[in-house]
Symmetry: C2
Subunit: 203 residues, 2 copies
């Protein structure tokens, strides 16, 4: 069974666990304690030079880092990821948007907020919130005319967009200006295979 | 011929033009004047809800935003992008790393630096430089033992990583601590089909 090195508070690892739940794939979740520095130790850096979770370790020992690469790898050949070149590109488009415009801004704003450092680095926090709001405005424009991220149906793009979309409020950002975005988030949460963010970790 | 909406100073559009050069693909480059706000006007937002270049417009009018989705779309079926599921995932891994850890940090630090706003928002600039250095350290660890990003050969992952790697100094960041990274950058630049960043724009 593949191993997923992950940390409960990370929403990047959540993406892989959501794909696994939607597709019924087995996955053994192993906690990498980020707070204890485990992801920057030599044995972990050999799995991922970037020193970050998640990493998927296959049965032959091959390691695949990066949440969206893992999500795509798990989704290959399923209804979550089309084969046709242009359809695939439209799914990937939102997965790259997520990485450059949603995750870094919501992720860092949330990290500063929940550790109480938003008041120590107010301009860093403010700039991340501005950029996150710009990304949320893009999603609002899209979801005002579309039920799903791509192709008019639920795909792996919705899963990866959902992960950090689910913690906008934890970053201290009001979602009231983004009603179509909030409605899409509820659509994702209402799917039968949806799971909470701590799913897969030992109790 | 497909149209690439792009802006000379953007290194994201450069990725698509590099792929086109390496594969000998025709591409008509149309300038979207970011400084004049053209990417946030209604006609452009209809092409990309995120209001950013590049956008690839196909002959049937279909629009594909996001530099890495465009790069992958253009590279499909070529030697720059493998078909096998795990090999493809190893290429994508570095393309997602580029989007979340390299581009946002080098990109914003560079933008602040070249517009002289690094001294107006010193903590924002400092945080982006710290994060960029962390990403460069990851690349240094990787290229210390590998000539190329993935699979031991030049792929579309090297192209997308190169784009913002080529402007580290413009962001005010010293590359002296990253000799293996600098050597990889020179390997990319020495390929016969390599082009300068303003290639494709009318003189």
């Amino acid at each position: 069974m593949p191993i997923l090195y992950d940390y409960p508070r990370s929403r990047n690892g959540y993406k892989a666990r959501l794909v696994a739940s939607h597709l019924g794939l087995p996955l053994q979740v192993v906690t990498t304690d980020l707070m204890a520095g485990e992801s920057r130790q030599a044995d972990f850096l050999a799995k991922n030079a970037a020193g970050k979770v998640p990493v998927l370790e296959l049965e032959d020992g091959t390691c695949l880092p990066e949440s969206n690469a893992i999500a795509l790898f798990l989704a290959e050949g399923s209804a979550l990821l089309p084969d046709a070149k242009l359809e695939r590109a439209q799914v990937l488009r939102w997965m790259f948007f997520e990485q450059s415009q949603l995750l870094p801004n919501i992720g860092l704003a949330r990290m500063l907020k929940i550790t109480g450092r938003d008041t120590q680095r107010p301009d860093v926090y403010a700039q991340r919130v501005e950029a996150a709001q710009d990304a949320l405005s893009a999603l609002e424009r899209h979801f005002a005319g579309n039920d799903w991220a791509a192709l008019g149906r639920f795909t792996v793009a919705d899963i990866v967009l959902y992960a950090y979309s689910s913690v906008v409020e934890e970053a201290g950002i009001d979602t009231a200006p983004y009603p179509a975005f909030v409605a899409w988030r509820r659509r994702v949460e209402s799917l039968p295979a949806h799971i909470p963010p701590d799913w897969g970790f030992a109790a």
